[in-house]
Every structure is written in C-alpha cells, then in structure tokens.
Symmetry: D3
Subunit: 330 residues, 6 copies
C-alpha cells in the first residue's frame, strides 16, 4: 500500500479503493466496518471501529477514498486500523489511475492513436462505421477493463489490448502487402467493443460481473448485433457489415473458444491470431514476472497447464503496452 | 418419372423440373440441349436435338416444364429424347408440389397450425414478435426447404421441420409443466427462420447454394440479428429479445455443431434436443427405408458412421410429418 | 425438519431418517450417539447423550425413527439434542414416503400406468417379456431410486424416470407414425431395470452404494443378460430378444457414456434421446429452482460446466413428474 | 496360383477356392460362369464358357474345387479359361488348409496346447467353465478366423490369436507373480469366443459377413451373455462369472474401441493390453513385410495413419505364431 | 509454358524442368521417352519419339533442359512433340529461378538480410551459434524449399519462410519490449534448419521425398541434435543451448502438430505463433488467389476444412514475401 | 516407523530419513527444529527442542540419520520428540536401502542381469553403444528412482522398471521370432536413461525435482541427444543411431503423452507397449494392495479415473519385480 507516514510516523495516510466493505457488530453490539482496502501495490484488511453511518459517511465497494490510520499486528499478518476516512474530493488532486492497476498509457492517449489510424482509412464506409461506434462508446471506452479477473483486468485495459493488436496489425500489413489494411484495423478496433455491454464495471475501471445479457449472448454475437444496428443507421452497405460482423463472430478462432464461425478470410484469420497473441503475451509476462529468475511458475490453468520458465533474459524495461504492475511476491 | 404414354405408346408426356441444362454442339456443329429432367420419382438424362433458342424457348435450371418425347436406350441405361418442350402454363393445372419432393402436408396447412399456436400464446410480447417475423417471411416460408441437399431437403421442408418440433414441444410441455410453453414454442417457430437468408432457393422450393452471408454468418447469428431488428421496431422488451436470441444462437447444442453458446435455460436446452431429434429421425427413417428388411444400411456419414438396421417392424403407414418420398432402389 | 413443538414448545417431536450414526465417547468416557437426522425438508446434526446400547435401542443408517428433543445453538448453527428416540411402529401410521424425498406420485399409481400400457401392446412376445420382467422385480421396483446421489435420487425415482420416458415415447409415436410403439415402449420400461441389481438400496428407497457387480458390469450389460435369461425361460424368439437387448446396451447413446453399441435402429435412437432428455430436464430444473430469479446457478459439472439462468418464467406449478422437493437455500 | 502344368504345358491344373461366381450370358445369349478363383498365393479372374448347370455341376462362393484350364491374356492382365471343373473329392487328398491363407499351426495342435493349459488350472470353477465353453464351440473353433477381412483373417485365425495371447499371458505371470494365472489364462481363452456367433463363416474358414446379432450386440456383450448361460448351467459361482464377464466386456480397453467398461482389475487390464499387442504385431508385420527393406509402407489406416519402416533387420524366420502368407508384391 | 515460337511458328522452344521421365516402347518396339515438362507457368505432357540413349543424351527427373518441338492435340488436351532436347549449358544464360516456382526475392538477398540481423545481436553466444549453423548449411540454404508439396514449396522457400518470420519477430519486439530480441530472432532463423536434412531436394530447389531419418526423427528433434553438436563444438554454454533447443522442439506449438514440449517461455511461444501465422497466410493467400472475387474456395483440408472467401479487397500488389506464382485456373 | 524401544521402553531409537526440516523459534524465541522423519514404513512429525546449530549438528532434507526420542500425543495424532540425533556413520552398519522404499532387488543384481543381456547381443554396434551408455551413467543408475513422486518412485526404481521391461521384451521375442531381439532389448535398456539428467535425486535414491533442462527438453529428446553424442564418439553408424533415437523419442506411444513421433517400426511399437504395461501394472498393484479384498480403490487419476477392484485372488507372493512396500492403511 502506498500510504505515507504522518505525524510521528505511527499513523499513515493515503488514497485507496474499497475492495470490500461490510457493516458488522462487535461482541458488545457496537457497529464497525470490516474493510479491504486496495491500491495498485496490494491490499490490506482494515477496521473502522465505532462506526456511525451518515449520508456523507457511507461507503460501498469500489469507492475511492482517503484514509488515515495505523498498522496493527493481527494473527500472522498486519491490519489497518482506520482513524479517519472520507471520499476523495476533486481538490485532493488524486487521480484514480494512480491507485488501481492501470494500463501503462492514459486512456486518452491510446484512444487518440486509435482515432488517428481510423482517420487514415481509405475505405470511407469503414472510416464512418468505426467512428460512429467509437462515438457511441467513447466515455466508457476510456477506462473499461478487458476482463473480469483483477489480475488480467486493469483500468483502460480494453484500450490497451485494442491498441496492442492494432499496432501488430499495422506491422503485419507492412510485411504482407496483400492484407487489407483498413479491414484488419477496423476489426482490431471493434472486435471486443461489446465487452462494454458484457461486463458491468464501476467508474474505477474495475470489472464486477458479467451482465445477464453478457452471459446469454456473449460479446461476439452482441458485437455483431451492435455493428448491424449502427451500420444500418448510417447506411453502411450490406457487404461491409457482413465482413465486419464475420470478423467479430469468428475472432476467438475456434468453436471451443466461442467463435460462431471459423475465420473465413485472411483479415479475419489474422485478427483471431493477433488477439490470441496479445492475450497470451500478457498472461505469460504476468506469470513469469512473478517468479524468480531460473525457476518455473506454477501450472497456468489458462495456458494449457504449462509451467513457464523465467530465463531472466527479458528485453529492455522501457515503457511498452503490457502493464508492469506485477510485483514479485516476497 | 411419372410420364404417361401418349398416342401409340411410343411417346410419353409429363411435367417435370429441369435439374440441369447445358447448350452444346453436335460433332456437325448443330446446337442441342443436354438436360437432366427430374420429378419426385427420379430423374433421367435427356436430349433436345436441333435446338433453336428463342425468347419463348429458353430454359434454366429449376424451370418447371411440360415435355413429350420417347425413351431410347443409351449405354447401359435409358435416355429421353425430347420431342416437345414448353414452360408450364397456369391453365395446365399442374402444381409444382406434385413434381418435386415435397412435405407431406401443404405449406398453407402447416403454417395455419403454427399460427393457431401463436394465437394461443399468453405472453403478448412473444405473440407479437413471432407474428411479425412470420409476416416478414410469410411468402418464402410456404415453400422453403430446410437444407441444401436434395435428399434432406424438400419443398416446404422448413415448415415441415418447424411443425414437427412444435408438436414435440407441446407434448413435452404437457408432461413437464414447469416448462414455459410460449417461450419454447416461440423458439421452435423461429429457430431456423434465418435459413431463408442463408440459402438461395428457386421458386420450386429446391435449394441451390448457401448465400455468401449464409456462409460467413450462419443462420444462428443471422437469426439473432434479425430478431433484434424486428424486435426493436416493435418495441419488444430487452429481456424477451435476449431470451429468444439466446435460444437461436444456442439451438445447435454444442460449439462443434455451431452453437455460439451452450443452452443456458430449460427451454433453450429442450429446443436444441428436439431439433436434433427431428433431424435424426428424418435421416434415419430415410436411410432405413431404402434397404431391405433384415439388412443394414451402408455407413451413414451424418450419423457417426452407423450402419442402421431395418427390422421391418415399422409402425403404421398413415400420413405423418416425415415425407415418404424415398423409394427402395431396385 | 418437519418436527412439531410439544409441551411448552421447547421440545420438538417428529419422524425422520437416520442419515448417519456413530457411537462416540465424551472426554469423560461416557458413550453417546453422534447422529445426522434427515427428512425431505432438510437435515440436522444431533446428539443422544448418555447412550446405552440395548437390542431394542440400536440404530443403523437409514433407520426410520421417531424422535423428541430440543434445538440448541452450536457454533454458528443449531443442533438437535435427542431426548427420546425409537423405531417407528406400524401403529404410528407414519409413512416413509412423507419423510424422504420421493417421487410426486406413489409407486403403485405409476406402476399401474405402466402396466396398462403393457396390456395394450399388440406384440404378444413383448407383452409377455415385459410382464415377466416386471413380475420378477415388482416389489423393489415400487420404491427403488434411479441413482445414488441423494440430490438426484428419490424414493420411487426409478419408476418416475421410467414413466416420464414412457409418456414422452407415446407422444413421439403419435407424431411419427413409423415408429414401432410396442418396441419403443418396451425399451422405455426395461432400459434401467438392472439398476435394481446395480445399486444397493435400503427399504427407505435411498440408494447406498453401487454393488460390486454393478461396478464391474453396469446396468446396461446386466440388463441384457437378465433379459436374455428371462426371455429364454419364456420362449421369447431370438429376434425379439436381440432387438430389446440392443436397446438396453445402447441406451446411453455414445461409448463415452457407457453405450456398448451406438443405437442402430430408430426406436433405440429415440430411447437414448428420451433418456437424456428426462435426465437433463430433472437436473436443470433442480439446479435452476435453487437460485433466485434473474440469477445464474454455479457451474453445473454434470451439464458441461454450464451456468444456468433462472429466467423466472416457469410454467404452471401443477403436479408433474419431476419432483419439487428442492427448496431454495436461504 | 499354385496350378501346375499338365500335358504339353499349355494347360494348368490345381485346387482352389471359388471367391465369387456369377452366371452370365454372352452377347449371343449363351450362358457362362464368371468366376474369381483364389488360393493362398493369390487370385485370378476366370471364365467357364458354354456352361450348363446341373445338380452336380453347380457352384457357390467358397466352394473348394479342382480346375483345369489355360491362361489367356486379357487387357493388361491374364485370365484363366476353365476347361474342367468339379468339387474336390475326399479321394483327392487335397486339404483346404493348403489352399486358403491359414494359421501356421494346425487347429488341432493349437487347441491341444490351449486345453493342456486349462487342465493345469488350480481354480476348479475356471477349469470347468472354460472346458464347457470349449466343448460347446469345439468344432467351429478349429477353423474359425479371427476377423472378416481376408488380409487379417485366415483359417484357424481365432485359435492362432487366442494362443498367442495365452503364451504372452503365461510369460507375464512368470515376471509378475501377483497376477492370477488361472484368471488371466481363462480370459485369454474366452475373450473372443463369441466371434463364432458374430461372424458367419463357411467351412473353408473364410469369414463372410457379420451376423445381424453380431452387428447389434457385438462379441463383447454376446460373450458375457454366453458365459452367463453356460456358467449357470454348470453351477459356476456368481463371483467367478462376474470376474470373467467383466474381462470379456472390457477387453477392448476403452469405450471408443467398444469396451462397455474400462478394465477394473489387473488381469482384465493385462488381457486388453495383450489383445492389442497381438493385433498390432500381426498388422505391423503384415504391412512391413509387403514393402522393400529401407522403405516405408503407405499410411496404415488401422494404425493411426502411420507409415511403417521396414528396417530389414527382422529376427529369425523360424515358424512362429504370426502367419507368413504375405508375399511381397512384385 | 513459356515456350516461344521459332521459325514459321509451328515449332516452339524454351527452357524447362523435367518433372517426370520414363523410357517406353511403342507397339512396334521402338523406344521413346514419355515426359512431363514443367516451368513456373504450368506443365505439359511430352513425347520424344525414336529415342536413342547415349551418355550425353540421358535424362532424369528434375533435369533442367532446353527443348524445341511442336504442340499436337491429344484427346481433350495438347501434347508436346519434342524435336530437340539437351541439358542447359552455362552459356545459355538461363537461370533456374526463372523456370521453377521461386521465392519472390533471390536467396542471396534474403540470406544477406538475415545475416545482417545476426550481426546486430548483443548476445555473443547466440551470434556465434547462429553464424556457425548458417555456415554449415549455407549452400543448400540458398535454394532449399520449405516443404515437399509443389504447391506450398518453392525454390528458396525455406529462406522466404524464415525471413517472413524474422521480420514479424522484429516488429513484435518493438511493440513488446520485454521480449528478448536476440533469442527470438535466433529461434526464427534456426527453427526449420533441419528441414535440410529432413527433405531430399534436387539442385533445382524442388523437394522430392522425406529422407528416412526425416521420417523417423523429424526436423524438430533433428534440429535439437544438430544445435547440440554444433554448440558443443563451439563451446556454447549449456544454458544457451537448452533455450535454443527448447525453442526448436516446441515450435509446432502443440503435441498434435509434433511439438515434443509445449512452448515454456515467451520467445518459444511467440516463435510457434509466428510460424503458424506465416504458414497460414501463405496457404490462405494461395487458396483465395485461385478463385474468383465474391466466391469461396473448395474446402481446405489443411485449414480445418474451411471454405475461404475471396472478398476481392486485397491490399496493394507490390512485391512482398509471399510468392505470387499462383495463377487463376481458367 | 521401525523404531525400537530402548531402556524402559519409553524411548525409541532407529534410523530414518529426514523428509523435511525447518528451523523455527518458539514463542519465547528459543530455536528448535521442526522435522518430518520417514522410513519405508511411514513417516512422523518430530520436534527437536532447544536446538543449537553447529557444523556437526546441521541437517538438510534427505539426510540419513540415527535418532532417539519418545512418542508424545499431539492433537489427534502422535509426534516424536527427538532426544538425540546424529548422521549415520559407516560403523553403524545401517544401509539406506532398508530405510527408504526400494526396489525388491539390489541395484547391482539388476544391473548384472542387464549387462549379461547386453553381452549376448549379436549386433556389435548395439552391444558397444549400450555398454558405453551404461558406463557413462553406471554409478547413478544403481540407485536412481524412475519418477518423482514418493509413491511411484523408489530407490533403484529406474533399474527395476528397466529390468521388468527387458524381461518382458525377451519373452515377446521368443513368441514372435520376427522381432529383432538386440534392437528391442537395446531400446528397453536405454529408453529412460535420460531420466538421470531429467530428475535431481539425492544419494538416498529419492527424487527431488525436475531439473530445468528436464522440464524444457524432457527425457525423450535428451535421450536422443545423448545417444547421438555417445554414438558419434564411438563411431556407431548413422543407421543404428537413427533407429535407437527413434525408439527413444517415440516410446511414450502418442503425442499426448509426449512422444515426438508415433512408433514407426515393430520394436519401437513394442517398446512403447511394454513401457505402458509395466507402468500400469505397478500403479494398479500399488493401488489395489492398499484396499481390502472385495472393495474398490478410490478413483485413480493416473488410470483414467478408474475405481479398481481388489478381488483378493492375487497370485503367489514370491519375490517379483514390483516392490511390495505398500502397506494397507489401518
């Protein structure tokens, strides 16, 4: 936790997220709050004793708060005894991105890079279609995560994932000139857009649960339905919609991973491969970073039960699109 | 072929379908038509010598024609030498259903039974939605086949398949009262509706090819998109659309057979089972009917390579919903 | 637990099943019984202190008993302190069906419906064969469960499952007239008969364990062996036995679910589909009923890990063949 | 064909099997026989012109005949023009084993070795059971093949396969002393006994087709039913029958190869492994023997599409239990 | 065939490859050569009548020859009647690359780009190891194809495939900075090097057959053995060899495609993905280019039986690394 | 634990292995050792209070020690309070084989039998190659286990497994004379040799972990690389190495179990089958021995989740190659 000492150093103060909160009673019947506080460095169990609920002093999951308190030993670990707590105010100047696991670039910067690419499309229908979809989802797109699990999902993770694939897509187009640049880039930008309807996410950018519709239809089919609707509203041709919708419903590559159709043209195939590549790289980097050099990770369920090897020869540490919030457990 | 003798019995005359037609030249350079003529009893190779193409004397695949000619031996088989040919006229009183493999009930009768069921729905949203969809597709629905292959696909086959499942669905609802009758019946009626956009079919009710969109999106996803569009135009609630769309995209049961999601509520599961049951029964009855009592069919590719046994103890032969156009090869 | 208050209401009294019983010693060396008592509403941990074992005061698993005692808090839950306990006597008038999860219809009623169907068979060999088999197993058939797990298995569950499939079978025969009614119904009635040799079950109708033979041979092969034996004793023809035995050994549909052969004629295929349908409906209804409307169940292992959705739109609640003993956990 | 020249060498004479026979008419309407003649060296197309059918001059598939005739070129190959033909007579002294692909040891010799093993059993029940089964099938057992296809199936092939496994079983028992010798040997001897009811075979020892019962029940289940019947007639205990029946229904190892249960004790597991080993060795030796040293066979469908390598370093050529009828195609 | 008319235009002349050659006899016993001639435009059946074999006039498969002759109709097609034939001489100035399907860049140019990358490695061990391996295989590397089938395999195809992956690898390293550039590039360059020992290839760069060793060990394991040998000869550390060998034996990604281990670190995973991407792109581009815009290809066996769609919107036609030798069949 | 009472019987003394050891502090800060002690009869938790570490009094995992102490109750179980502990000295005369689960024959005896077989080879290359490999690994071979898990792995387990397969191989060669004895035996002896590089094992013969190289390359590929190296050093022919290396990389039978190639000649196929047979027999015997006669084992994960039946009819108990260290849990 990035709390800093205040006063004589017994107390600490900082900003954090409420990861869970429950109102309980002590043995003597006095109400208190049982909390888990979290920031991008970790989390800590906390108690707020003698709690009196008031409209201005009421907290729910994912609230962004300022706390002061002190660390007290509890069983084999430490606990945080909250002395003061309040919601973060605009005048605090604290930005949520600094306290939740976030993409390495701000949402705005990433979206700008994406929109610059759209502006460069030769195909006017694709340019219009993609722009309209971005407009429809712009606000949420800026902070939406790409997945539900805390470990794979970070604030603005959806943009981070989208931008990585878009950059890969452009490189591939330079190497294989027969690939349709506009079509592949449009697919890269739109492929996961329906995750915004599939997941319920608080304004902190942390995913809660799948929505009912997300469970029953999934972001592949929901994406196709959405593209169809926005497309028709903007008079996009049947053919363009058909190609884009095919890319969306096939981008998981094989039926066992949810694709309703196998990719049936080159850009659809490429999109599914680049999607897999970015996801795998993120997960492998994440897993490998958490173990010592020269050792193996535990079996990775999502990677066919592989034990991954940390050979300790990573490339440069400069900023890049995969977040580096993972810290080795010590 | 159900051609009948005319005159001294050397010539035969009848109605039939043109299954294929090609204009060729004899060795001497004289044009002739090389035809395959078909009706619901079989097909025959035919020639029309000394052919002169005129606007009124021009033929394409799937045309419904009246022919007169004579049978001539050719290699190990017989060929039909066409003496006269013309398109069928309204005054002929010949109906196409009598000459192509067709469902055992007329399309109109089947659609009536279906619409009577819709009228009985308690759920007004489902009643409205299903009615609107039927209205949109009414004309084609009357004769559309359910599949592309001649053997599995007959004129009005789509209605036949739909009605069988609907009847099964009603029986099931009587036995298990917790099943939602309206929802299951709506699913049964709508589940394959997008086959009308997936296949290209002539007015004879014989399927030609999959459409491009049919190949790239498939009738499951296309069905969901269509329901969504018609649903919104008629102010159907999000929840109802979500349930119906889920039934459509999951009705093939498992991803390997094209389902975008596994069925996730009881009516969706039932729909996928009843769909399979009707398809299997049709195919098994078709295969078994073609071999002698006490023998096995060849391996059936579409039925996990099974050899099926004809035990010769079929039930009554009265009219029922599976066509009996199959004739034993002798 | 359906215990009712007696006296001043501190004590409660009722009938129940002993789900488990163990004789233990207190720290001071005094013997007591550690029990779990159960009825069709739930179960409770119980203690009988100062227990003296006598011939008339000795208890084993699945005994049907009358108890009196009081509820005492224990850890986070309640425990039942037994004051009196004895075996149920005929004069109590308590019937076991009211205290264990049971089929919604009495065994006798269900068997009657089944035998009426047998009486209607046209095929005399099948009529004789099925009657003889029912006679052989009649007594156990009345209360036997269909499976081992408490949740899927209820008193008279085997008849309940058999009757559901038989009803479905009859509906199917009405829709598809080429199906052999007698053969399909015979298969429906006999398909699981060897479960009576496969499971060991107390007279309460609750399954204990698989028998050794059940483990090593399974009810599919055991069924075929039994039919063969009873068939020969009654001079049933080779052909009839062969058809029935095939239906029995193939009724799990595919090898991975234990079928020794794929179903090779229409009635065998139908039987395996109806068996699956009834099993799935039971399990799905059971799982969905246990969660709130608008929410999903946990992943269902036996249903390919699906989360099932309770859409809250079940059909009528009238009596039907799937039991409704499931109560929402609160 | 092992025909030998007679007279001036233009004519050839010998014994052979009729592999197929059809009565046809020449263009002039004269009847003739169109035959395929075969012996263990190969087969040849043959004609018998000017054929007059008489009771003593009538031939069916698998007849064992003596023919004389001459080779005549026909298209790219040779044909045999039959001059004389008649059924083989006892006084000819020709034995069928010399003219059809046969096991390398006479059936009698092999059965003797098997019965000597049975006589050595300590377990009297198993000794009695196996003896009774052999008695029941003795005659057919002597010449029955183990499979339908000509290439994998030879006269007395069933005994050859049984004896190989029995010999392997004995070796294994010497190496692993905890294996039950009597049980494993009993399983080895009985495991395929129901192939005698599963296949229809002429007296030449060449398999024709699967029987209907063979198709519908298979030799695994049929074996269990038979053992059960013979066992009960001879008062064999329930336990012994259960163990033997389990070995029979599980000996194909996994459900995908037809096992109704996975092998659940050591002898059952061993039996299934030894069965596979003998079958694989036969097929691999057969395939490899047909290609030149230093080359690969074509893909072997029954061996997971492997190309097998003939390394040219086979062991000794002395007589052993796998037949060596395969001759390199040149 | 790119033969050009000579003289009065009745005769044609050009350079080509002998794809097959067989010496035969005419009906009158006169020897002639039955040939198939091929160049990068197609192939043609050819005859050389009255052939007299002499040391200087002898031809084998894959010889590069100059021919003159004339086209003569034969059945439904054309045949080439050879009038003159001889081996190509240096003074002809004809280069084989112009007459066989070849990579779009000369081998030398591609190898230069690869070696420039090696020169830029920071890791001296990898630089040394890769250089030594290239030196060992340099000559063959320049023209070796990447596969056996004519359609997927072209002269210098191995370098083409290697260079494509290398270019992709570099792009990926720019986007994800934690990837080890030297390791991934070394893997890209070495991954298929053992194809040079796995395939037997003539100097034309056309693959004949798999070698025996290629069949029995495969280029993955052979690659590891080779790297180990060359590595030890050059004192490369155990660790470096281990990492490179792992990349080689895992580069087919999953066991079913021949990987002896799943990729266990990031560069190994990336290599296997890039390998698949380049192979798929080549095959899809090849298949799609052969059908008309707006239509589908036949099912592609090597691409999970997909029908691929030619949407007619390919990117620029400028030179790139996938060959464009495919010509639409007309 | 095979500790024996000393003195008045309150104390016990014996030799054992340290299975785990951790230095901890009591609440009062006094250091003590928290140990798990093990021998071939079982294991026990132990404490050494008031521990003072000195060079001669320092312990690590797998140390072979002599201890004295007393049993004290702890929670529901017993603990051993160590009074004295020291490393075993040569003069103690205690041999490690008596205290860790070990093969039933001494390593030396087993290796002798193996080397006698090698000496009998006719093929001089194989004789030389196998001898050289044994020489290289002789010391470790004597005590190396065959696997990592304590239950499946015993001291000298690698030799035990090798010898069992070798004995099976010889039996098979007697029954099928076309099998190449030298090649199959060489494969049997060498197939797992690289396990010595794949596992890290203490001198007690108990496996610790997989080595990094073992994880990344596996003993199949490592074996091929090793054979290649030793083979070249001894001028073994390419062909012999190729055959042996193929046997090594294919001996797991199918890709899903790690085989880099399917076995492609008879000896390779046999080796993979015998390897599986010995492994399965070991595991099944081990599992079955641990439950009562007439009961089933729990599901065996490594045996396709089978419940195995103990029929109580094991063969003779004489010494044989599968260890009998398993003791029924009571």
């Amino acid at each position: 936790m990035n709390f800093t000492p205040v006063g004589n150093g017994q107390s600490h103060e900082g900003y954090c997220l409420i990861k869970s909160v429950e109102k309980k009673l002590t043995a003597k019947g006095v109400p208190y709050l049982d909390l888990v506080l979290a920031d991008n460095e970790g989390e800590i169990s906390a108690k707020l004793w003698d709690y009196k609920e008031t409209p201005g002093n009421s907290y729910v999951k994912f609230d962004f708060v300022k706390v002061r308190g002190s660390y007290v030993p509890f069983n084999d670990t430490m606990q945080f005894r909250v002395e003061r707590i309040r919601h973060v105010l605009p005048e605090d100047g604290a930005v949520i991105e600094d306290y939740v696991p976030s993409a390495c670039l701000p949402g705005k910067v990433m979206l700008e890079e994406i929109e610059k690419t759209v502006a460069s499309f030769c195909d006017n229908e694709l340019k219009l279609l993609v722009s309209k979809v971005i407009d429809e989802y712009r606000e949420k797109l800026l902070y939406w995560p790409a997945a539900k699990n805390l470990h794979h999902a970070v604030r603005s993770g959806l943009l981070m994932h989208t931008l990585s694939i878009l950059r890969l897509a452009k490189s591939v187009c330079e190497i294989y000139r027969f690939v349709n640049y506009d079509l592949l880039c449009a697919g890269a930008i739109l492929h996961d857009i329906a995750k915004i309807d599939e997941l319920s996410v608080s304004e902190t950018g942390i995913a809660g649960e799948y929505t009912i519709k997300g469970n029953l239809l999934g972001h592949l089919v929901m994406g196709a339905v959405t593209i169809d609707k926005i497309g028709r509203e903007n008079n996009i041709s049947e053919e363009t919609l058909m190609l884009v919708e095919h890319m969306l419903i096939s981008h998981h590559g094989t039926p066992e991973f949810g694709a309703a159709k196998l990719p049936m043209f080159i850009e659809a195939e490429l999109l599914s491969q680049l999607d897999l590549m970015d996801a795998r790289l993120y997960e492998m980097h994440h897993a490998v970073s958490a173990v010592d050099e020269g050792t193996f990770t535990p079996r990775q369920w999502a990677l066919e039960n592989r034990n991954l090897y940390n050979h300790g020869k990573s490339g440069s540490d400069e900023v890049n699109l995969v977040d580096n919030t993972t810290t080795k457990e010590d």
